[in-house]
């Protein structure tokens, strides 16, 4: 039996949404299941995100809307999995959709019901910090924007039914059972927050001014209860001194959470910085054990927090918190490293709560027959970080272990590749292509404008005199039809619109209602179904930006609506049909770099049936991984690598180019041409054609100048130690001293190399295993054993490995001491707890050397026209939500080319890059944007100003008969219009928002 080309994704947070979008964009049918009434997960609750301080909603909302509207995605919200049977390729899932008591097809999301609901219920989204009604949406931008009745709070008074003009309230709606046939399942169940009231010593729940970090996040948010003011709960004052207490429910055996939650150091710092940005008088202090800023550009963020914003970091565990009854301030007792007990008073305490496995994991694991790890996360293996214990069921994001947003998004895409590899043969079998009537050619015809004005129940009609606006619209030039509708967005009105288009021969349509951001695609679809080009459409926002914001001035609101109408008509008279150019796609990939990431990517592409060219600069494949012999979990990395390399060579779709380098790249998404030079004695050049490029150039170990490295045979790097441990059968190690951050987190390489702490723990455990007599000392600045690795750190301490912290300004010193005719290595380090130097005689000095980017990154970046960050690693399009994409479409990055990282993360990234690539490679053609820039060659002087401001490298200067002119590559242009606004001679314009249209709008002033 053929496999099924459909997937069920469980969990609608950022992981689930990303996985769904990738799958849907590569022709799988997706059912996105969420137990909550709307998708968005935890990220939708966040105010800003580190390290860029991006507004979470600004960057997430477009993805949510895309998922909500995608033809291949069905959203099944307020639903739970009941049971599953079958196996990979053929699962049969039964779901229960709990009743919303609101008809999903009829609810327009106008919100009148919530406004009129007499019951005050706590608002869960704002973490109970503000109130809402018994009929509600989780947040204003919710997807789907469908209200739900909270039966527990509902009095059953019947008011909402009465005020709902759409007739969407269904008090008698029943729960519903649903069967899905899917080929594969992705688990993206996210996490629960640790319940801080379990740590009774912190007084959460007893003291009003002790809040959890998620509550604080809502306090910070512009859409939170205090609209962005940071106010403490007891009296609404702005807290001057705020204490953040880290690791509440993390790294804590008493709570059964031995792991590190990975994200808290960063998000607490972010919250401190944002609080400070809100109100400069705020003095934040963060109480922590280690600063775990292990991610890309995180250390820079911490440094800015400390030096620019004055965030204070104190290393200690807090012993108690007491409330001062009169002021409700909090007295914190803590013991800093020097051992003196200090008591300090704060106005607000934020408990930085850790990540807990989702409560639902247990039940899900049982129903699905997959294994959990001992904490309750879904179990995965180093080399298969997105596979559960059961074939066909994949996992991504925090469901398998704590991780931050970029890693979560990466894994989501990677899981989508997992599905793609499994179901490649069934791709496209369950998605339908919609057929539209042939487009009517309206060019050259005088505009015949139809205007549809919405009452939106009473949302618009209750404030604006809609009939008078209709009357007014009829007087405007070229308007041949104007009418009003109760709800213009309802499905029956779509039929009316289509009929009127025929009846009146309309060739432009205007809807005056809500926001084009949410509803334009719907109406564009309608006119397309009626044979009009989708761009022959314009909207006037007379609700969100008129009736709702001038509720008490009906006259002014009506006047404004008429003005907006006139503006819309002015533009509509000049709008033209726009074409979305279809570009062919070369269904072949190019992978640059033959290390772990490159090999993984090449194989993942090949498994999905795409040909791949794999370019490696060295004489053999394997890269950095050749020097790693085992992992913390004791996997045999060399055996794995050998098997992978064999697979590469035996796969006829993959063509390997050794001793090769990229010489030149031209073309654009779907159609790249690359020249490769093969250096095998004599140079040979090869021209390759491909649709996408994956950059996997890897990283290198830093060659230390410090600590007599290379001058004394007893000084090694971690990789050299690892080799020695593997090769030597039964060695005695004696005193082994490891120094962390050699070449990392300094002026030359200001970043954290991420993998060294894990490496040091791994190798010290191995040394102890081989030679229990050996003494191992690890000299560190912060131990960054994030996630589950924290357990290994604990294991190492239990095995007797001694960890000693040193300060950056007080680095360990190495001396050679002559005794008995030989020279001993002596390491001295200042110990902050006893405030004294410790001296260790070292038999081996092991340096945890930084991971540095390969030199040729610079040249390659120029050829690809993609950026590097300050450290020389490739810079992705967006640090949070596009971790493996570049701004330039069709080019992706993975592995250590992006930043230093351990094996499983490189594998995830490689698969993620493939997933993103597959959204292009699975298409016959790529549709370019309709709204793009266009050049009038008669006016262009080729001054190149437009090129300077274009962030997408979409403009080139072309030699023509008339000389040089700018040319827009429609495949790359995103339609921002920066070029049009920069051009000195009005030679470049933006379709859909032309200079002419803008001028006409400006001219509508009465």
């Amino acid at each position: 039996m053929d496999k099924l080309g459909s997937v069920m994704v469980i969990g609608g947070g950022v992981a689930g949404v990303q996985a769904s979008l990738d799958l849907a964009d590569s022709n799988f049918k997706v059912y996105l299941v969420d137990s909550l009434p709307s998708i968005g997960g935890t990220m939708a609750q966040l105010d800003k995100t580190f390290p860029t301080n991006d507004c979470a909603m600004c960057i997430l909302a477009p993805k949510l809307v895309a998922a909500g509207r995608h033809q291949n995605i069905s959203l099944l919200t307020n639903a739970n999995l009941k049971h599953v049977e079958g196996k990979a390729g053929h699962f049969k899932a039964t779901l229960t959709r709990r009743s919303r008591r609101v008809d999903e097809d009829k609810c327009t999301g106008c919100g009148v019901c919530a406004q009129k609901c007499p019951v005050e219920a706590l608002d869960k989204f704002n973490e109970g910090l503000s109130k809402g009604g018994a009929v509600y949406v989780r947040y204003p931008q919710a997807v789907p924007l469908i209200y739900i009745i909270n039966k527990e709070k509902c009095l059953g008074c019947g008011i909402c039914e009465e005020v709902c003009k759409a007739g969407a309230i269904r008090y008698d709606q029943k729960d519903e059972e649903l069967q899905l046939d899917v080929g594969s399942i992705i688990l993206a169940t996210g996490f629960d927050e640790f319940d801080p009231s379990l740590k009774t010593e912190y007084g959460y729940g007893r003291h009003l001014n002790v809040v959890s970090s998620i509550e604080f996040e809502r306090l910070l948010s512009a859409s939170g209860p205090h609209a962005g003011l940071v106010l403490r709960p007891s009296d609404g004052d702005i807290p001057r001194k705020i204490a953040f207490i880290q690791c509440v429910g993390s790294r804590d055996a008493t709570c059964g959470t031995d792991y590190c939650s990975s994200v808290c150091c960063m998000y607490a710092t972010k919250e401190a910085v944002i609080a400070k940005e809100h109100m400069n008088q705020i003095e934040p202090t963060i109480f922590l054990m280690d600063v775990r800023a292990y991610g890309k550009d995180f250390d820079k963020y911490i440094e800015r927090a400390e030096n620019e914003y004055g965030v204070r970091f104190v290393r200690c565990r807090v012993s108690s918190i007491e409330e001062v009854p009169e002021t409700r301030n909090l007295k914190i007792k803590y013991e800093p490293e020097d051992g003196k007990l200090i008591q300090e008073e704060f106005n607000l305490v934020v408990l930085t709560v850790g990540i807990k496995p989702s409560e639902s994991n247990k039940e899900l694991a049982e129903k699905l027959g997959v294994e959990l790890d001992k904490f309750g996360f879904f179990k995965t293996q180093t080399f298969t970080p997105i596979s559960t214990s059961k074939p066909g069921i994949f996992v991504c994001g925090v469901a398998s272990s704590p991780k931050d947003i970029p890693e979560t998004v990466t894994q989501a895409s990677a899981a989508s590749t997992g599905v793609g590899e499994l179901l490649a043969s069934a791709r496209g079998t369950l998605v339908k292509k919609k057929e539209y009537p042939k487009e009517r050619d309206v060019r050259g015809q005088p505009p015949r404008i139809g205007v549809f004005i919405c009452h939106c129940g009473i949302n618009i009609g209750g404030v604006i005199d809609v009939p008078s606006v209709v009357e007014y619209a009829q007087t405007l030039p070229n308007v041949v039809h104007a009418c009003d509708n109760l709800y213009t967005c309802s499905s029956d009105t779509q039929e009316i619109v289509k009929n009127r288009i025929q009846e009146y021969g309309l060739n432009r349509v205007i809807v005056a209602s809500c926001s084009p951001r949410t509803h334009e695609p719907l109406f564009q679809e309608t006119i397309k179904e009626a044979g009009l080009n989708r761009y022959l459409f314009e909207m006037a926002n007379i609700r969100d930006q008129c009736s709702w914001v001038h509720m008490h001035d009906h006259k002014a609101a009506t006047e404004k609506a008429k003005d907006l109408m006139r503006m819309a008509v002015a533009k509509a008279r000049e709008i033209e049909p726009l074409e979305r150019v279809a570009l062919g796609v070369t269904r072949r990939g190019l992978v640059i770099g033959g290390g772990l990431a490159g090999i993984t990517a090449a194989l993942a592409l090949a498994k999905q049936g795409f040909e791949v060219d794999l370019i490696e600069k060295n004489k053999e494949l394997g890269g950095f991984l050749r020097k790693i012999h085992y992992t913390l979990e004791n996997d045999d990395t060399q055996e794995y690598l050998r098997a992978m390399i064999d697979n590469v060579y035996s796969n006829e779709l993959i063509k390997v180019f050794l001793n090769s380098k990229v010489e030149n790249v031209s073309g654009y998404v779907g159609n790249f041409k690359t020249t490769v030079t093969l250096d095998s004695g004599s140079e040979v050049k090869r021209e390759l054609e491909h649709g996408i490029i994956i950059v996997a150039t890897g990283g290198e170990e830093y060659h230390p100048n410090e600590y007599l490295y290379g001058k004394d045979h007893r000084v090694l790097t971690q990789l050299e130690l690892e080799n020695r441990i593997t090769v030597a059968a039964d060695e005695k190690f004696g005193n082994v001293v490891m120094i962390q951050c050699v070449g990392s987190r300094n002026d030359e390489h200001p970043y954290c190399s991420r993998m060294c702490c894990g490496e040091a723990v791994k190798n010290s455990l191995k040394v102890k295993e081989k030679d229990p007599e050996a003494n191992v000392y690890v000299l560190f600045r912060d131990i960054r054993t994030y996630g589950i690795m924290e357990e290994d750190y604990k294991r190492a301490r239990e095995a007797g490995v001694i960890f000693i912290r040193y300060e950056e300004e007080n680095k360990p010193k190495l001396a050679k001491i002559k005794s008995e005719g030989k020279e001993d290595l002596q390491v001295s380090v200042f110990e902050p707890i006893i405030q004294e130097d410790i001296i260790i005689d070292a038999d081996l000095l092991v340096l945890s050397a930084a991971v540095i980017p390969p030199q040729e990154n610079g040249t390659l970046a120029k050829m690809l026209k993609v950026p590097l960050n300050e450290d020389g690693f490739f810079l992705e399009a967006h640090a949070k939500l596009r971790p493996v994409d570049f701004a330039t479409e069709g080019i992706f990055v993975c592995g250590m080319a992006h930043s230093p990282k351990p094996i499983e993360e490189s594998i995830s990234q490689a698969k993620a890059a493939v997933s993103r690539a597959c959204t292009l490679l699975t298409k016959d053609t790529i549709e370019a944007e309709g709204i793009i820039a266009t050049v009038n060659p008669n006016r262009c002087t080729a001054c190149e100003l437009c090129m300077l401001v274009c962030a997408y490298n979409a403009i080139e200067i072309e030699e023509t008969k008339r000389g040089k002119v700018a040319k827009v590559n429609s495949a790359l242009c995103k339609g921002c219009g920066a070029c049009a606004a920069t051009c000195r001679c009005s030679a470049i314009d933006l379709k859909g928002f032309t200079d002419m249209q803008m001028n006409l709008i400006i001219n509508t002033l009465r």
Binding site: P118, S130, H226, L229, L231, G236, I238
Partner: protein
């Protein structure tokens, strides 16, 4: 000077007004403090009207209608009873509950009418002049009654009261029985919340104020006041005027 109460009566046309006429026809004597407003039915009495009367300094307000079951318009008196019950709850914290009274007097009860008037007049005499009289106006109570007026104007509460009888007698939209107690609890919650918010609004309308000051004036915890201010901000009625030291001072936006 002897206290001479001013009492306003809302009397239904078919029973109580006729009863008052009968008292006259029968020459039954009663105190001259009552001024009567004739309405067709007690059901017509908008809850805001008795409050308006009190706000204008009436020492007492009495509502008289047909006995249960006798209403000329079937159920108007039941509606009135519920509204008055709600009003009494609302003004109780202001110490005004006893100044509002409801009685059933039929067309044949001339003597009873006189007795009711006499009793209520005496009751008011004992209570003394209304704190809302112009001469010595108690400002905080005046604010209170204004807030109460705004609260009963609230659509949601009016809608809820309008449904009370149906819900209690016939069950809610889910066909579940709702006890009077449960309904009252929800109603009280909504009412108190609305009342407090209006008081906050009125205070802020006069002068920008901090949460702590509001909490003192309303004798409510700061936390409580803050919750209400959050809601008022969300409704676009209140905004942060300025921040003094570390304390936000709130002011109103025009309704």
């Amino acid at each position: 000077m002897k206290f001479n109460p001013k009492i306003l009566g809302f009397l239904c046309n078919w029973c109580s007004y006729a009863g008052a006429d009968l008292a006259g026809i029968s020459r039954i004597q009663y105190p001259p403090n009552l001024r009567i407003i004739r309405v067709m039915c007690t059901g017509r009495i908008d809850p805001v009207l008795p409050l308006e009367a009190l706000a204008n300094g009436a020492d007492g307000v009495i509502i008289m209608g047909c006995h249960p079951g006798d209403c000329h318009y079937m159920t108007g008196n039941y509606e009135a009873e519920r509204k008055i019950k709600m009003l009494k709850k609302l003004i109780a914290p202001l110490g005004l509950a006893e100044r509002l009274h409801v009685e059933w007097v039929s067309a044949s009860e001339g003597a009873r009418f006189a007795e009711v008037v006499e009793n209520f007049t005496n009751q008011i005499k004992v209570l003394g002049p209304s704190p809302l009289r112009q001469e010595k106006l108690d400002l905080s109570k005046w604010e209170g009654i204004q807030a109460a007026k705004e609260a009963v104007e609230d659509f949601r509460l009016r809608a809820l009261v309008a449904r009370e009888r149906k819900i209690i007698e016939e069950g809610n939209v889910y066909g579940e029985e709702i006890s009077q107690e449960e309904f009252d609890r929800k109603m009280d919650d909504a009412l108190t919340a609305e009342y407090i918010r209006n008081r906050i609004y009125l205070i802020l309308e006069k002068e920008p104020t901090s949460i702590k000051q509001l909490s003192k004036r309303l004798n409510l915890s700061s936390k409580h006041v803050l919750d209400h201010v959050v809601l008022l901000r969300r409704r676009g009625l209140v905004t942060v005027d300025k921040i003094e030291d570390m304390t936000p001072i709130y002011s109103v936006l025009k309704r």
